[in-house]
Amino acid sequence: MPTPFFVLEVALSGLLAGLLYSLVALGFVLIYKASGVFNFAQGALVLLAALVFVRATEIFDAMGPATVGFWAALLATMAVMVLVAAAIERFLLRPLVNQPPITLFMATIGLTFLIEGISQMIWGSRVYTLDLGIPDEPWIIHGLYIGKIDLFAAAVAIAMVIALAVFFQFTRIGRALRAVSDDHQAALSIGIPLNFIWVVVWSLAGMAALFAGLVWGAKLGVQFSISVVALKALPVLILGGFTSIPGVIVGGILIGVSEKLAEVFVGPVVGGAIESWFAYVLALAVLLVRPQGLFGEKIIERV
């Protein structure tokens, strides 16, 4: 019989992992909310951001002190992500405006291939290490092992959500964004061009991707497989609801915790490695009860 302490420890590690999923899912939600696009390329953006950051760090480290190099690289990567967002808006979203969601979805799959292909053409398939300067030694609190990097990730995720909440609530563009998610026509009447809004949203998603990339990269090394992590964000997404930012956090935590618990306590019974599907089946089970996810808006059909 597992001890309650052990359960707690597993749950906590799940919680922290879950927040990382949230970070990736956040990018999905932002874009889905503002443009109705299911952006499958979010994982590819994570990979791209991490790779660019690694490269930028190398360049700036060669030029000056490490701390400056970190921030310079961060800024440079942000700039690249904004450029990428602008390019996506110009060459993908704009020509496909008014197309059905599935077409846009497919286009983002194409985008995934494009970004991953180009990234790997430039950087190859090797694993880069990414050092955030956070020691990889756990804190031990009352016998509980907590990875510092996990904690850092959690902090980043929560900070990001708060920042976004503030942004949406208190800035003009943020309010416009909310308007867009409700009604494109209404958004137009606010006077902010839709195209600009899309660039902003994709840039924000790029930022989310960057933070996710930093954390995942630091944990696992920057490599092709971190784009696959994005798939883990999908159950979080449907659990939380496609359009809810708080839902992303709650969904992430729920998925992370239950996944870890299931892995540890159920996995061995059925043959192990249930991590690959458990999150999905859980999300599916929730959907059957609440088709719009935990925090999604209820779709009311009018005739």
Binding site: F38, F91, L92, P95, L96, Q99, P100, P101, I102, T103, F105, M106, A107, I109, G110, L111, T112, F113, L114, I115, E116, G117, I118, Q120, M121, G124, S125, L231, L234, P235, L237, I238, F242, V270, G271, G272, A273, I274, S276, W277, Y280, V281, A283, L284, L287, L288, P291, Q292, G293, I299, E301, V303
Partner: protein, 353 residues
């Protein structure tokens, strides 16, 4: 330009609703299929085994998926899973009941896949759109996991990679490339015809009704759950069939990795590029997805950049992605639409479209 259809009048509804109502189209397709059966006489082993056979198998899978996505409007990312079910079912039928005719095995495999499809289709009554798409991922991952982890399915093989038994029909060995090609072709024709028949019949209209406006579909008496489940069943049947053919006529081995998420996406690409809600588009899409890498390979070889296999495959990936985006922008309704426009142009030639 090629059409001389004036004076060919339809005096019955049967003639009017024929799959190819224009006589010349009908002759052309009959000739094409006839030629396809003669291909083994001229084609090399490489062409048969590495291009044409997978082309037809992919076409079958694409038809299966298109029924679900294009006709019934149910976005699925779990095609690979259903193919895997078909593959493993066929394998198990074949080794456990060796006396079964291979055609029977294929059909049984399809039916098992259809059954699994129905189970995973059940949530579709409540779950819609992208929620459903993500939910189908559950089936994809679960099925993949199941075949890796439960040794019964692989007949307790230790390696996880197992060879399919040799194929015989009425005692004739069917393992040669030409034989395999012919049987795959015949199956493909059967799938295409039955699929086309369904989508132009009542069931096809029920699917499209649900797809276009489920509320209106209900008031004309379409039962949503039943209709969606039939779509899942038919779709999974075809996908399972494709998976079984994959094992017996293409690769010759059974491995779950062949039916991973990337496979699902690959098939989805075929459907989208070929054209949602068309049968002919599935063939275009399959040809595009299969031929493009080969084409790019040859192109790179021509440019003398051979050797950097890694770089090559990445460049291919990028070009592939870009082409998909370009195609979607140029013709969101896929290659089938382009084909239709081309035919229309030819019909009204020399007038502009």
């Amino acid at each position: 330009m090629f059409y001389r259809d004036s004076g060919l009048i339809k005096t019955t509804y049967k003639a009017d609703r024929a799959i190819f109502p224009v006589d010349q189209d009908r002759w052309a397709i009959v000739a094409l299929v006839g030629l396809a059966f003669l291909v083994p006489a001229v084609a090399s082993e490489y062409w048969l085994s590495s291009i044409l056979i997978p082309f037809f198998i992919f076409s079958v899978a694409a038809i299966g998926l298109n029924i679900l996505v294009g006709y019934a409007g149910l976005l699925s990312l779990g095609t690979g899973g259903f193919m895997a079910v078909g593959a493993f079912a066929a394998y198990n039928f074949a080794i456990r009941i060796p006396e079964l005719n291979i055609i029977v095995v294929l059909i049984l495999a399809g039916l098992v896949s259809a059954g699994v499809g129905i189970i995973f289709g059940l949530p579709s009554l409540r779950i819609k759109g992208f929620y459903l798409a993500v939910a189908t991922l559950a089936s994809q991952f679960f099925i993949e996991w199941l075949f890796v982890r439960v040794p019964w399915f692989t007949n307790y093989s230790t390696s996880g990679v197992i060879s399919a038994p040799a194929v015989q029909i009425f005692g004739y060995d069917m393992s040669g490339a030409a034989q395999r090609y012919l049987i795959v072709l015949a199956m493909t024709v059967a799938v295409a015809v039955t699929a086309k028949n369904m989508v132009r019949s009542a069931i096809g209209r029920s699917w499209m009704a649900i797809r276009d406006m489920d509320v209106a579909a209900e008031i004309i008496g379409v039962r949503p759950l039943r209709t969606k489940l039939v779509a899942f069943a038919v779709s999974s049947f075809y996908c399972g069939l494709a998976g079984a053919m994959w094992v017996f006529f293409y690769i010759g081995t059974v491995e779950p990795q062949a039916f991973d998420l990337n496979r699902s996406f690959q098939i989805l690409f075929m459907v989208i590029i070929g054209g949602l809600g068309t049968i002919v588009g599935c063939f275009f899409g399959a040809a595009f997805v299969i031929l493009l890498p080969i084409l790019l390979d040859n192109l790179f070889a021509l440019l003398g950049t051979g050797g950097h296999a890694d770089l090559l495959s990445h460049a291919q990936m990028a070009i592939y992605g870009a082409l998909i985006i370009i195609l979607l922008i140029k013709e969101p309704h896929g290659m089938a639409k382009m084909w239709q426009i081309f035919r229309q142009r030819m019909r009204i030639w020399p007038f502009p479209y």
